[in-house]
Point group: C2
Amino acid sequence: MYGEVLLIDCGEGTQIQMQRFGLKWRSVHHIFISHLHGDHYFGLPGLINSMSLLGRVAPLHLYAPAELKPIMDAILEVADTVLSYPFYFHPLPEGSALLVDDPSFRATCFPVDHRIQCHGFLIERKTKGRKLLPDKCTEFGIPAAYYDQLKLGNDYERKDGFLVKNEWVTEDGPSPKKYAYCADTLFTDSFLPVIQGADTIYHECTYLEADADKAVARFHSTAKQAAEIAKRANAKQLLLGHFSSKYKDLDPFRQEAEVIFPNVQVSIEGSVYEI
Amino acid sequence: MYGEVLLIDCGEGTQIQMQRFGLKWRSVHHIFISHLHGDHYFGLPGLINSMSLLGRVAPLHLYAPAELKPIMDAILEVADTVLSYPFYFHPLPEGSALLVDDPSFRATCFPVDHRIQCHGFLIERKTKGRKLLPDKCTEFGIPAAYYDQLKLGNDYERKDGFLVKNEWVTEDGPSPKKYAYCADTLFTDSFLPVIQGADTIYHECTYLEADADKAVARFHSTAKQAAEIAKRANAKQLLLGHFSSKYKDLDPFRQEAEVIFPNVQVSIEGSVYEI
């Protein structure tokens, strides 16, 4: 996962925006699609094709609603396209499930409550232990074969009897992190147990509380409701998004959420948020 | 057709670029798709959906390869989408055919030679007769019921016996025009009879003549070949496009074509070309 890009949902133009914001397609090995409304996946066929045109060889894993498979198959078939890389389609189950258990991260899906079947995703970065300082390792003459021991925090005793302290040749590695992407959803606490204790929760808020009736009618949430979820999940940070285009000013979303939950970010396309 | 936008092919991001360049979606009533390679239609689902989200009521006609129909149907079905407007899918036949015969324009498709089934389109703007000068018509007291006669070039005799000359209240209307869009194609003269005498021919030239072998292998054309078609079709103007992204400078395309055919334009996204 370090240096890897996990792509969650892929609206039209994603491939262009990724290039614009310097995200490398070749760093993407896993794509997660929450549901089959166009703004969440119409960029997928283009991205998958472009990767092939550029001669990608690394496998690509797609986790998406099962109904997408025949659509993707048909799109490739009518164009007589054979992808340059192995492409694995993993249909999402109806309920919660562990999707990926990689040495560096774990991805779980959980159902949310939208007009059509829709899933959120919990991404958990695993700790990888101590981080090596390669120059220092070389300086102290530590053989590469011992590097895994260093990552576990062990010291190294040289043949001349000199003890190399672990902290001289390593530093703290990245800490484990939990990121919950709650997709498009009506206000519901059904997935609270899954996202409990997340470092960052992304929760949609298409509307402000004044339009709560619209939110219900369209299976979306308000900023207040998103904050309620973050609070009850004991999250450290709330990332708001999916604002209706009718609102020109996004600051009221932050204000409404901050009344309930203190650490709120309003997501802006192309921005980077520390989890 | 006057004030109407005919959309030929619809790559990813077309809806965004149309907004950017001030082309109104509501002016589009006919969309033509040449073939099912992604760069020619991946923007279609998004455009069709967005029109519906904005509450379009006017019918939309899509002319495209038959294999696109089940894909579009599936995309709408999995999203549980019912479009807000009547949407008509017209499958393209294998050969040439008249697709639309509107009072103001005619659209014909013709097969070209590409890796998969692919069509070019001939758009013929019909003459609409004389163009009314509304202020002058009012000034001379001509009733609106007589306007159609004025468009046909007739004079008007008032009740007081005064003869209003046609040229006082009308001016020359738009002349008929022929535009041929030759899509993605290997060099072929098979469609020369259809596009003969076109005012403007759009012909792809993915490559320069130095890469003619690549053009053949990939079912594309060179700038020289495009110019050859324009010359043999007795066109007035050649519009070049679909350049391989490996070329950073497009001027050599113009130069190569101009050796054979004098009036060449290199198409640039967002530009307007008089037909």
